[in-house]
């Protein structure tokens, strides 16, 4: 019986403290050379796709631009288009907001990426509703929080209709007869609702995949609903084994109601890793990386975000502050909830800190810098394989901590072991689309009768 195949995504180091910039080997977050290196390594490692997160406004901390972590990133679509030119097989998945884009434009951009890459485009659809990011956009924070998944869902539906509005055989190009397009080959797409009023004629022909792969990352009930209705991949947070199995069972169990097959939705949670020649060495390296990821000032910043207070006088090697949070100005709605949520969070932090007598820094390391897989390459490969064979995940979205070479080691030392187990591809099939690489059923295109 053939083993279940492992699917892997390569996550470019994000704009947060998981990415270590203090290491002398750390490279640029913006130079194209970094993206070229990263994508080449992913292709060498036969990854299904490279993945980019997105942030539509520079992170701030207490009203000022946050300067402790890496900052600065390219425009998602433009950099993926450039990466398409220097790769041949690996998928190209970018995070793009359904709140601060419009369907006609985003659909044509994703279709363009699919054409340029020969069918390798993917879209991690995220929602946002806040005024902070909205301040960089035409309509500000216009979207009601409660509407963000309503808009996302309609946006996805509308985009799919635009992608399939050109018949696959639309372009006849009969020079002698002077017929470029077949009759009725391009369908008008109309959608009228509270949120959209569109009467569209799409200007981009059907692309190699038909439509891009759609990834979804939200863990809320609305998020899971969106995923089971629209997504091909879930970029989840569930990596603890039994928790992951529960999530897997729940989500895959909902697919039948949408007329979908189990294999039509892949679950690829985020995972970090640290390798060593022995388990002890790996643990030591993990500890070193964690200390780099959670510097004293990083830990203090984390607390400042929870407490909403200035803790610059505090020692990260000391105990948690014994002070009240500043829950901000009282508002008619939300004050009580926010107050209670912050208190609950602080209570939880104290519980963990007290149980193991942790300093501030050690507590934040415990909470944020636990690496998913720590061990020898054999151990890591064996664990990844176990998760997939035992249906806890369909694979992982692997995040390195160094730009751009953080996943080089994974390609060199772990991939060959996965291949040896018979659980991972040994080559890319020529002409494979991202749908093909992910083992997804083909997209049904509208065809002329």
């Amino acid at each position: 019986m053939t083993r279940r195949q492992i699917h892997l995504a390569a996550h470019f180091p994000g704009v947060n403290n998981t990415t270590v910039w203090t290491d002398p080997t750390s490279g640029s977050q913006i130079d194209f050379a970094s993206f070229e290196h990263f994508a080449s390594n992913a292709e060498r490692g036969l990854f299904d796709y490279v993945f980019l997160a997105e942030g539509l406004r520079l992170r701030e901390h207490r009203g000022q631009i946050h300067d402790l972590d890496v900052l600065g990133r390219p425009n998602t679509l433009a950099i993926l288009a450039a990466i398409a030119a220097v790769t041949r097989h690996v998928g190209l998945v970018g995070t793009l907001s359904t709140t601060f884009n419009e369907p006609y434009e985003l659909a044509r951009q994703l279709a363009t990426l699919d054409h340029l890459s020969g069918g390798r485009a993917g879209w991690n659809a995220v929602t946002s509703s806040d005024a902070f990011h909205g301040a960089n956009f035409r309509r500000g924070g216009y979207l009601d929080h409660a509407d963000r998944y309503v808009r996302a869902s309609e946006f996805a539906e509308l985009s799919k209709r635009l992608w399939e509005s050109w018949d696959e055989a639309a372009i006849v190009a009969d020079a002698a007869a002077g017929v470029f397009l077949a009759d009725d080959a391009v369908a008008r797409v109309r959608h009228e609702s509270r949120l959209f009023d569109v009467d569209a004629l799409f200007d981009i022909p059907s692309s190699p995949q038909g439509r891009p792969v759609i990834v979804q990352a939200g863990d809320s009930a609305d998020g899971r609903d969106f995923a089971t209705a629209h997504a091909d991949v879930i970029f989840s947070l569930h990596t603890e084994f039994s928790d992951a199995q529960d999530f897997y069972r729940d989500v895959k169990g909902r697919l039948a109601a949408h007329g979908r097959d189990e294999e039509s939705l892949k679950i690829l949670p985020a995972a970090t890793f640290v390798l060593g020649d022995t388990l002890a060495e790996a643990k030591e390296r993990s500890r070193e990386v964690a200390l780099q990821q959670v510097r004293p000032e990083t830990a203090i910043t984390y607390l400042e975000q929870v407490w909403n207070r200035d803790f610059s006088g505090y020692d990260a090697d000391g105990p948690l502050p014994d002070v009240e949070p500043d829950t901000g100005p009282e508002t008619a709605q939300g004050f009580a909830n926010r107050h209670a949520a912050v208190r609950a969070r602080i209570s939880k932090l104290r519980e963990v800190a007290d149980a193991e007598n942790l300093t501030i820094r050690e507590l934040i390391i415990r909470l944020t810098a636990n690496h998913t897989f720590v061990g020898t390459p054999e151990h890591v490969a064996s664990e990844i394989d176990r998760y997939v064979q035992e249906r806890a995940t369909d694979g992982f979205t692997v995040v390195g901590h160094l730009t751009p070479h953080g996943l080089d080691e994974f390609t060199d030392r772990v991939i060959p072991l996965l291949q040896e187990r018979g659980s991972y591809r040994r080559s890319y099939e020529e002409g494979a689309t991202l749908h093909d690489l992910l083992g997804l059923p083909p997209v049904r295109q509208r065809t002329l009768v």
Binding site: G72, L77, E102, T112, A173, A175
Partner: protein
Amino acid sequence: MTHPVHVAVALEGAGWHPAAWREDDARPRDLTSPGYWAELVRAADDAGVAFATFEDALAFAGRWTDRDEPRTDAARGRLDAVLLASFLAPLTRRIGLVPTVTTTHPEPFHLATGLQTLDHASHGRAGVRIVAGSSPAERANFGRRADGPVGFPASGRVEDDPAWEAAFREAGEVVEVIRGLADSWEDDAIIRDVESGRFLDRDRVHNLEFEGEFFSIKGASIVPRSPQGQPLITALAHQTIPYEFAAQHADVVFVTPSDPAATAGILAELVEASDDVRTEVEPLRVFADLLVLVEAWRAAAEETWSRLQEREALVTDARVVVGTADDVVEEIRAFATAGVDGVRLRPARLPADLVAIADLVVPAAQARGVLLPDGGESTLRERLGLPLRASRYARTEVPA
């Protein structure tokens, strides 16, 4: 004595002639294929063309045609120009990449960051062609704006249509934002100071705080400063308000004199417009657009032109040159004498006339001293004789 000029190309679909897709060597099935565009632009790059512009709109066909019923006898289907340019960046060495963008529906923030990213990926060869306004077709595709021009006023003058005047004002705000966000990170904002634990110097990253008539943008760019600092801003203009728009906001303006003699009048209008409104330090660079069809023999060119015209008559704003490479070179010389800084050649047929430009026209023009040679400058701006400027926020160094 004529001064030598720059040469650019304008690329669109199967070529600028509407019947070009029916030619034997046309590739009408490849208009959205990466290989088609890579071959065209690499040929132009190898020949030493200074930059290529790429057409785009947010509607089926152009902005003003095919609304009710899609035409089935015309080449249709295109790629998003900013993404096409970004794709071509790693595949090209020297040529500037200038996508067309519209300014009513796209988010100015996304336009700005897209162009900065193009500049990073191309190591400083990014430009943009700014188009004002939206059409009813575009508005229907988006369902987001009710305001905008319905068509062209009877007089043909922008100032006779408040919707068009507003469109140009909005386009001006988009350029201000593109320039402002491009400057928002100073060149040395990223300090990677391990000792203080600071990745960047936050005093060197500036929120834009733009408040305009049509939109407001608060924050700094998410993209660090790119090699050119600012993309090359270009615009196509045929009359007063667009001339004023170009004078105020652009680095390069494309104009459409009907013949070399008509150039003087246009240049005079541009000088007058610049005196009133130009905010950039350098004079506006003026490129004359020429639509060209080139064959080895004049008779062959005219025969090809007749065939194309019989199939469908071209309607164009640009001067048309049908003839040999030498004929085109002499036209370029005449426009150079008339005072332009460059010419933008619109190939009637693709790939045929792009190949003719690359293989025949450019070498002949260079041999006759009509073209400025590639000086080896690293960025598009410098190649066109425009200086790089530090961010508007950069502190001037005080000598010790």
